[in-house]
Each structure stands twice: as C-alpha cells, then as structure tokens.
Amino acid sequence: MDRKELEAKVLELVAASYKKEVGDLSMETSFKEDLAGASVQMVALVAEVENELDATLMLADASACATIKEFVDLVEEEL
C-alpha cells in the first residue's frame, strides 16, 4: 500500500471512529481541536487500524498524535 492509499484508508477509519464525513477530514485535521474526541474514540480508531491494516498501535503513541498526518506516520512505521 503506498502513502496515498494509506492516507485514504486512515481517513476512512478516522471518519468511522469519530462519526464524521470523510470529506470533512484532511491530513491537517487536529484530533484535539477539530474532532474533540474522547479517549473512547481513539480506542475505536486503534482497534479499526488493527482490524483493517494489521498494525498494532500503542494507545499512548496514538493519543500523542496531534493531527491525522501524524497518525498516518505512526501507522506507516508499524506496517
């Protein structure tokens, strides 16, 4: 999977976990300011990444990501 495909897949998973439209999200979207999610949503996202991409992330690492781009970087490292 190349970077573009991975970004598209992660956007889809973020949208599902945070109950947003994919079109409203971008690599610059901030988890804290734009999504205002609780840890429960991040847990859902980590689980989705495990299911769909076979990458096991630490919640602490995932929660430390400020933007979706940083999250994609983290997933890419784990793949």
Partner: protein
Amino acid sequence: MSILDQLYEKAKQNPQKVAFPEAANEKMMQAAYETGKDGYIIPVLVGDAEELKRLAGERGYEESVFTIVDIHEEAYKSELIAKYVALPDTRLKEKALGRRMEDPLYYSMVMQAVEEADVTFAGIDNTTGDVLLAGQMIIGLKPGISTISSIGLCDIPGFEGSEGTLLAVGDSAVCTNPNAEQLASIAISACDTVAALLDWEPRCAMVCYSTLGSGQGELIDKVTEALKIAQEARPDLAIDGEFQLDAAIVPAVAEKKVKRESKVAGKANVVIWPDLNVGNVSVKLIQQFGHANAYGPMLQGFNKVVCDCSRGAPVSEIKGNVVISAVRAAGSKKNG
C-alpha cells in the same frame, strides 16, 4: 465487623470466577490462592499453563484450588474468539483479536466478555493505561456512559452519615477534568457501583462550592449541566445538587440551605467531585484529618467489572480488592 469483613462474608455466599492474567506474579498468585482456598472466589489463572503449574508447585500451593487456562491451547482460544466476535458491538475482528489474545490480559477479558469469567483482576505488572485500554477495547463501556471513572469507599471513624461511617466518593483517581457529560457518567456509574457492591439505595450528591445557586460561575455551570444530563438519562436514580459538601451530608445544614424537597440533601451516601483536583485533595484530607480507611479506586463504566490494583500493593490489599470486585460482579448480575 468492618465493611471489608462484611464484604468477605458476602463474597463467600456467592463465589465468582476471577481471571488473573498476571498469575505468575508471586503476590498475585498468593492473593488468588488464599482467596480461592478460603472459598471467597474461584480463581482462574490465565497464562502459560506449564509455567503456572510449576510456579504453583514451587510455592507450595495445591493446584486443585486453581482453574488454569493455557493461552497456547488453540481449541479453547478458537472457541472464545468465535463466541466473542458473535457478540454485538465488539471492536476487534478475529485476526486482530487472536493477536491481542497472546497477551493474557486480553485473553482474560475475552473470557469475561463471553461469560467464562466474572471479573478480570490485573494491574500488578500491567500499567493502569494497559488495563484501561484492554478494558475499553474488549469489554467496552456501558451503554450511555461516556468515560471510565472510579469511586472509593471511605470508612471514616466518628462520621455519622446516612450509612454510618461509610461514604462513597468519586472520581478521585481516573477522569482528570470531566466535561459535563463525563461528570454525569461518573455520577450514574457511581450509583450503579454502590448498588451492586453494598446493596445501598444510592443518594448521590454532585458537589461544588455552591448550594442551589448560592454561587455563580463556569465551575458551577458544569456541575448543574452534568446534573441535568444525569437526571434525564437516569430518572430512576436519586442524583441531586448542586450542593456544598456540608449540605450534601449534614442534615442540619441541608435543612438551612436546601429549601426544597430532596431525597439526597443532608443524607447523601455518594459524593461526586467536580474534577480530579478536588477529588484527590479531598481523599487526602479525609485520610489525613479524618483518619479514614479508603478502599479502591474501583474502576467503573465498563460493561463488566475490571479491576486495576496498585503496582505496589501488598497481598492483603490485593485480596481485599479481589473480594470487592467479586462482590460487585455478583451484585451487577443480580441488579441486571
């Protein structure tokens, strides 16, 4: 008889299956063995069976007290996975779940989710973060609850409250700065926890520095908003406020400050702090000046009872927390 002695007796009447994913740990195995041998629980050790059997033998424990579950046994693991993925609203799919179940903590929680165990008891080797993540991923949150939180049970010498010397307080350990929705969840979960553990009819006060509008400001607005959310979500529960602490627990003060009907004012048995700063400081005050014994923190908000003990806990404390979590699990089943 102390409250803990009473809970030990209660546990014995209906022993629950407690899964121990850190059973190789010496203190944990001792706590599991002693509470199992005395009939308070049915200890289920989850891990490498060969290692657990060897350690039990070396430590002089009768193996028959334990049920030992080998995480390497494929047939049982497959059975658990099949049952788990068939449950509604689970997060992990088969492959990812199988991978996570290589960790006994996740394995135990899957057993619990499919009702092969009643409690998962961990925290001596795993961090609180590990336990909370596994709990949220495998057990999940109760419907309508937006955060994991905790309560403590304080036994305060000389306190003459509506439950004698006992008072449940929360959250003093987990949810740092709850928003109104989360604060409402903490109050609702706390009511359910004390009902399951102690058979109390919960009377829950949401406290801050104002009683029914005597003060104003955003710190109070959060509490009143949380109160509204909690009352709308669970009209069956007696949750009231906003009260100052004395108006919540002292009848004479409540009479002066609360000029309306309240099932809670002056006789609260559950007190909910507005945030963790208040909660932490208050528990220290109760312990230091009130010379109270504080039991907990008991995690709440999960679909089933998950217990995280302190990593430095002595065996006596671990045993107490094992018994408390078993009684909660038995009570939760009874209360549906």
